[in-house]
């Protein structure tokens, strides 16, 4: 297989690089950027650091596009099925003959798709940041962190085994932590990065335990072998993992639910979502990259990667879809009430990830029932494009206004024409208005839900209506509403460098829906015929348009309708405005219950028992030495008496007592 690949590639690449070399370079180029900029950026590169990093990433993006082209059109397919190819694999840590941790690269449709998404969005963000972050004192540091993040994310999606994925998973968490806390002189940013890190760490504990259970029963860490062993119903591994049970639930389900908890933490699903809105403290391009397009979908990617195993457990899939739909609805409700534009986008992200998750949850393995899987991946793809666009647009607005608050904005369509248009495209895309990208992916998700579970379908439908409402609320509040007396006109829209990514992404957001995604990405590797029912699309589109018009009615002109409505649903509005008090619940649990019941006794124990022991040892020594000091008088005769007494004592001891 490998030889075949190399020959194939030699034809394409006159430089004579083989597939492995090119693949390895994809993550290594950003890593190189990270190392060089981190070590020398401050001294030598300064403002040119951005261009340097961008060029490196452009090379990486080119390589991944090339890989994608090669995979999808040249060598990936064999007998109509996209294969899982492992071009590179070497043993990294050999614990014992049977147990080792490997490093390798796994190519399959979703990892190749993710490669493209990650490098492409990252490249856009790199370009955008050239202007957005210009003049920052820690400009090279910013780019080195971006490089680290991109490296880790690429490593994550290319991992050939679950432990390697876990390593990169944590690296992604670290770089996210660093980037959220980029403005480390702001207490709120510091608090936010700590919060993000702690919550995702907490979730990763579940992930790790899940990994251990899976690999214990599966006997391997390798994805392909693991999936193979745990999906064939007559293998011994499958039989043991299903028959082993804890609290009445099989070990397989436990492992999958635990892995899913890790994914939910990273993907900010209910109830582990509280870090995501706060993570908006980071620079806006970072939010676009990490907290909209790439890192937060790592959870979706994880479930998709292990999807064949997930499909063996009804319960685990049930959990996935329930958590997904709850997150989608819950976040959409909150997003309707928030006034900080980045937070609205954050909740919107959470809601969209909820869509992807429940779509995975309602999917089956292979064939027609695998629609949900394809839909989730498709939505991941389109969402990355339009959500990155939304964030970058919001960044452009913030750059202009110097505020995140909706009330400071309004009437900006004249001042920011390009941002306005691209933002509108993104809003239409996320609202599911044809023919923009979101329409196609959301349609597929709803279709999958419709076939599988009516309740989920109805909730999803309502949520998609809400989505278009809050997105257009955002749009109208920023660009219409009151006529703004702009105070940032001096520097205009931010120049070509900032507009270029917006335009490129808006083209993507508008047109990506026409990609016949099902042909390339499906649960079992076979091409999936995407069926398009016109009558089915009527309800979602109508609902989306209704949401848009409601938002228009309420927010296009400055009026008191929003207040009246908010007033009429007073208590519910308040509940949503305060994010359903989830943060407060966490605080209550941690402060009141954990701190008082566990922390305080632990502190008491530490202060009195542990410290007491340590201090007691010290004091005792002090006391003894204080007493012993008297013996050291310098008086020879005193010493002689002690000596004699000691000798007599010893003599008595040896002669009469220990005969």
């Amino acid at each position: 297989m490998n030889e075949f690949l190399q020959i194939q590639l030699l034809g394409i690449f006159s430089l004579g690089m083989n597939l492995g070399w090119a693949l390895v370079m994809i993550p290594l180029l950003p890593l190189l950027g990270f190392l060089l900029l981190g070590l020398f950026g401050k001294k030598f590169l300064k403002q040119s650091a951005g261009i340097f990093a961008t060029l490196l990433l452009a090379a990486s993006a080119f390589l991944s596009l090339h890989t994608a082209y090669g995979y999808f059109f040249k060598y990936g397919k064999s007998e109509g099925i996209y294969q899982k190819i492992v071009p590179i694999q070497f043993t990294w840590l050999q614990f014992s003959p049977g147990v080792s941790i490997d490093l390798g690269i796994l190519l399959d449709p979703i990892s190749v798709m993710m490669l493209v998404v990650v490098t492409f969005i990252s490249l856009m963000v790199h370009v955008y940041s050239l202007a957005y972050m210009k003049g920052e004192e820690r400009f090279p540091t910013y780019y080195s962190f971006l490089g680290l993040f991109t490296f880790s994310m690429l490593g994550l999606v290319m991992s050939s085994n679950i432990f390697q994925l876990y390593i990169f998973w944590e690296l992604v968490g670290v770089s996210s932590f660093l980037l959220i806390g980029y403005y480390y002189d702001r207490p709120s940013a510091v608090a936010a990065c700590k919060k993000a890190f702690i919550i995702t760490r907490f979730a990763d504990l579940g992930f790790l335990i899940g990994i251990l259970i899976l690999s214990f029963y599966g006997g391997t860490l390798d994805f392909n072998t693991l999936i193979e062993k745990l999906t064939s119903t007559d293998s011994t591994e499958f039989k043991t993992i299903v028959s082993a049970s804890f609290m009445g639930i099989s070990a397989l389900t436990w492992a999958l639910v635990l892995v899913f908890i890790g994914g939910a933490g990273k993907s900010a699903l209910f109830p582990l979502h509280v870090w995501l809105p706060d993570a908006m403290e980071g620079p806006t391009p970072v939010s676009a990259l990490i907290h909209a397009a790439t890192m937060v979908v790592a959870g979706v990617f994880l479930v998709a990667r292990l999807f064949p195993v997930f499909s063996m457990s009804e319960v685990a899939l049930m959990v996935v879809s329930i958590i997904g739909i709850i997150s989608a609805l819950f976040a959409a409700l909150i997003a309707c009430t928030q006034t900080d534009i980045k937070r609205v986008l954050a909740y919107s992200t959470m809601s969209q990830i909820g869509f992807m998750m429940f779509s995975l949850g309602v999917s089956g393995q292979g064939g027609e029932s695998g629609l949900g899987f394809t839909a989730a991946m498709f939505h991941l793809f389109t969402h990355a494009l339009f959500k990155a666009l939304l964030f970058l647009g919001a960044g452009s607005v913030i750059h202009f206004i110097h505020s995140n608050e909706m009330k400071d904005m309004g009437g900006l369509r004249k001042h920011l024409p390009i941002t306005h248009i691209t933002f509108l495209i993104a809003c239409l895309a996320i609202s599911g208005v044809p023919p923009f990208a979101g329409f196609f992916s959301k349609e597929e998700i709803l279709l999958a839900a419709y076939h599988h579970n009516a309740t989920i379908y109805w909730i999803a439908l309502a949520t998609s209506g809400l989505t278009s409402f809050y997105m257009f609320r955002l749009y109208f509040s920023i660009f219409w509403n009151k006529e703004h007396i702009a105070h940032g006109e001096a520097h205009g829209e931010g120049g070509f460098v900032m507009m270029l990514p917006l335009i490129v992404l808006s083209v993507g957001a508008a047109a990506a829906g026409f990609i016949p995604f099902g042909e390339y990405v499906s649960a079992d590797g076979k091409a999936l015929e995407s069926v398009f029912h016109l009558q089915f699309s009527i309800a979602p589109v109508a609902l989306g348009l209704a949401g848009i018009f409601t938002a228009m009615w309420m927010y296009k002109k400055q009026n008191n309708r929003p207040d009246t409505i908010a007033h009429s649903m007073n208590s519910f509005y308040k509940l949503a405005y305060h994010k359903f008090y989830v943060d407060e619940l966490y605080l209550f649990v941690t402060k009141k219950i954990l701190f008082n019941l566990i922390g305080k006794p632990a502190a008491w124990f530490d202060k009195n028992v542990v410290n007491g022991l340590v201090n007691g040892t010290g004091n005792f020594t002090l006391f003894i030495s204080e007493k012993a000091k008297g013996f050291q008088s310098g008086k020879v005769q005193q010493y002689a008496i002690y000596f004699l007494a000691g000798m007599i004592g010893l003599a008595v001891l040896f002669i009469y007592i220990w005969k």
């Binding site: 005769q637 008496i641 004699l644 007494a645 000798m647 007599i648 003599a651 008595v652 002669i655």
Partner: protein, 172 residues
């Protein structure tokens, strides 16, 4: 009671009494003189045990050497007629107790132990035997310790000179 016995008891009384007086008198010169008598008594005991050589060494080294040295140093460091300072009572009592306990313990052990004389042919401590063995290098020869002690004495001699040398203020 034979004459030998009488001589032994006389010598022991001389040794012990002058020893006690030597450590208790408050006039330092008298202490030195009592020490002299005690050492002579010990030399007498050696004679009584028919170890004439060691008795002679005792008289030459101790009586003739060390005691004279001590008397000289007394002259160098002491004002005439000055009484020795009184030691505090508590210390004296403690020392007495310690010494007595040690004495009692040791004596008890000695008395409880029975020493058996060896049956092998004795070697007489004649000058010839002593000389042969002292400088012999065969099995029972003591020539190595003899050399070591010679070096020790030399080192001590040099040490004494170095320590007692009056250091010049300029060189310090």
């Amino acid at each position: 009671m034979s004459g030998s016995t009488i001589i032994f008891y006389l010598l022991s009384i001389l040794t012990l009494v002058s020893g006690i007086l030597s450590v208790t008198t408050r006039q330092i010169f008298r202490a030195a003189i009592f020490l002299l008598f005690s050492l002579i008594g010990i030399a007498g005991l050696y004679f009584w045990m028919q170890y004439e050589f060691i008795a002679a060494v005792q008289i030459v080294v101790y009586v003739g050497g060390i005691t004279v040295l001590i008397i000289f140093s007394i002259f160098l460091t002491q004002q005439a007629g000055e009484l020795l300072p009184q030691q505090n009572k508590k210390r004296v009592l403690l020392a007495l107790l310690a010494a007595f306990c040690g004495f009692a313990l040791t004596l008890l052990q000695i008395i409880q132990h029975s020493f058996n004389k060896t049956s092998e042919t004795p070697i007489l401590p004649t000058m010839e035997n002593i000389g042969n063995q002292m400088l012999g290098i065969e099995e029972n020869g003591f020539s190595l310790p003899f050399e070591v002690v010679s070096i020790l004495l030399l080192a001590a001699m040099i040490g004494c000179i170095v320590i007692a040398l009056r250091s010049k203020p300029t060189t310090v």
